[in-house]
Symmetry: C2
Subunit: 376 residues, 2 copies
Amino acid sequence: MPATIRDVARASGVHISTVSRTFSAPHLVNPETRGRVLACAEELGYRPNRAARALITGRTHNIGLIIADIANPFFPPLIKAAESQARQRDYHVFVADTNEDPIAEEELVHALAKQVDGVLLCSPRMSNSLIEQLSREVPLVVINRQVAGLPCVTMDVGQGARSAIEHLLGLGHRKIALLSGPRGSWTSREIRRAAGAAARAGGAELTVLGPNHPTGTGGGAVAEQVRRGDVTAVLAYNDLMAIGLIEGLDALGLRVPQDVSVVGIDDIALSRLTRPKLTTVATPTAAAGRTAVDMLLQHDTVAARGSRGGRGGTVDDRRTTAQVMLQTDLVIRDSTAPASAAAGRTRPGGAEDAPGPHRLAGPGRPTVTTGGVVAS
Amino acid sequence: MPATIRDVARASGVHISTVSRTFSAPHLVNPETRGRVLACAEELGYRPNRAARALITGRTHNIGLIIADIANPFFPPLIKAAESQARQRDYHVFVADTNEDPIAEEELVHALAKQVDGVLLCSPRMSNSLIEQLSREVPLVVINRQVAGLPCVTMDVGQGARSAIEHLLGLGHRKIALLSGPRGSWTSREIRRAAGAAARAGGAELTVLGPNHPTGTGGGAVAEQVRRGDVTAVLAYNDLMAIGLIEGLDALGLRVPQDVSVVGIDDIALSRLTRPKLTTVATPTAAAGRTAVDMLLQHDTVAARGSRGGRGGTVDDRRTTAQVMLQTDLVIRDSTAPASAAAGRTRPGGAEDAPGPHRLAGPGRPTVTTGGVVAS
DNA sequence: CTGAAAGCGCTAACAG
DNA sequence: CTGTTAGCGCTTTCAG
């Protein structure tokens, strides 16, 4: 039913190759004929079949984006940024959710492999070796973790965790808990390392609680441990956990930030909507999405053009690909307060339900280096 | 670099068609040969190229899902449900976000058309006529609106709005505002009609405010109008707007639910996390995603198999496709209270910051008909 | 500048 | 059960 290149050729009285050129190399065809062809195509509602084209050019103009969990509000900004960046370069993004299931992830990569020119992989669970293996099947850019030899874009959560701890130290906290993320997560490891170092340097005691499921429920589940842990402040693996923790603490009769200060990581939109508004480390997720697309496409065109070297050493070529790390910012809101605030005296009047102006940090973003890039 | 069917044929000493059969019709090939072929394929890391296969079978085993805004928490559950349902039937879902831009939507449909077997369209903005036109290019299932002659899955927001208004009437509210959604939205129209009728029947006055942008910001923007409107209760087009409104009201010194009751629609996860917890109309988004996939695939296989009738009347065939409407439920939480509650006396102690047990509605879901189906 | 021919990776009758 | 022969819709040499 849909018109093919042949229908257009017949209608406009030219050979199919002329029609083909009209669309893929317009400058190679006489303006007059081109006009005629275009008119016929328009009339017949013809549109080149990208899949057929891909079969021969080897370029689908699609890119795959594999996400552990779309419902995690951390991802949508990344997805949207990737999409708009891709669209600008005339690419489409196919997003696939895996429900945090590494098996599904692997299958998805295989299924996608032939339908896309490359895959952006946002997958905390998969093993490094599996990722490397998959990268031989389709060009990969890894997001949120580092894999030797592959292009990666990460956020400097280490720096973020350090800032968070220092902020807490500055408020007088000396007994701090860290809610770690899923086992095997690169991000969680980085946070732990940096937070540990910062705490040590400040003479504070850091208790690691976890691993935990990186959701609100996961955060709520450790509220009891936090209480027993006798700490005055907590740094959570992400905002969702931080928010869940605040809820859980609340149910236990502990108030944030009066009884315990809580810091999240990510700065998802939700963090501005909860009470108290969450102090958190903002990660530049949109920039990450854009950057990942750029890296994939660059890597891709390079691979397609630089045919001078011929075969051999393709693996070695990959080893030179860049690893980008984006800066993070601490944004101070209402979930942190001085450690000495044993009773709720930080806030004017009756805490959350005070109708007056919110105690939202004015400047908000001490470091303004968001989106800064460190290449290796 | 990736192995092709020919490589496998050569390696296993059979013709390529035998290899083909090994994968697409295993029962037609001698177990012994099949084993050999499979072994070689495994060794070479061969995987059938789905795009090439699609070119000839006409079945890509992909389905497209076009979403106005992935960042709207209403959609992720729908997306995930659609994906898992599709996966069960050996289909993949390609999700595309359009930033609420109808132009992008149309282009996306065109681009997707040849790479998928059908498209699920979740697109409040597009005109009916454009949708009909697109449906001639690729099988479409429309979500969240009704288009004559096309398969649609909607949620009974009319019923939901009615329950919400009746709940409000029961609490004694007589001056109610309705925050409408985007202009031209089917959902918004349904809500308005049903809410209007219910209010009239209950002898209440319903003021319509809008159209509005269906986001938190959109909701916050009308807080001032709501205050001036001198109403005691508000029904919002969706939860995001309801939450934004609550924030905005708060900034104006009005408390929810003491000064004004607010009801949302959707029951996104966030509604359980805000203070006060939002009373809202739960829409079965996951069921909608599943259903849409089922309808598309059924419609699809029917079209592929039922070749008995031959040509002719394809349009008429489509006219018989089902329109499914899923039931909604009112879930009562903390953002609604009796109209007479001029001062905060509904809740025990000091409102939101009371650390005690939350006043969350016990049973919660009066109607238990979620997922109920009404076919036409 | 345009046509002819070859073929991307695969499936689908049709013989054998 | 397996090989042969076409050909999906398109691009790309290569001649003219």
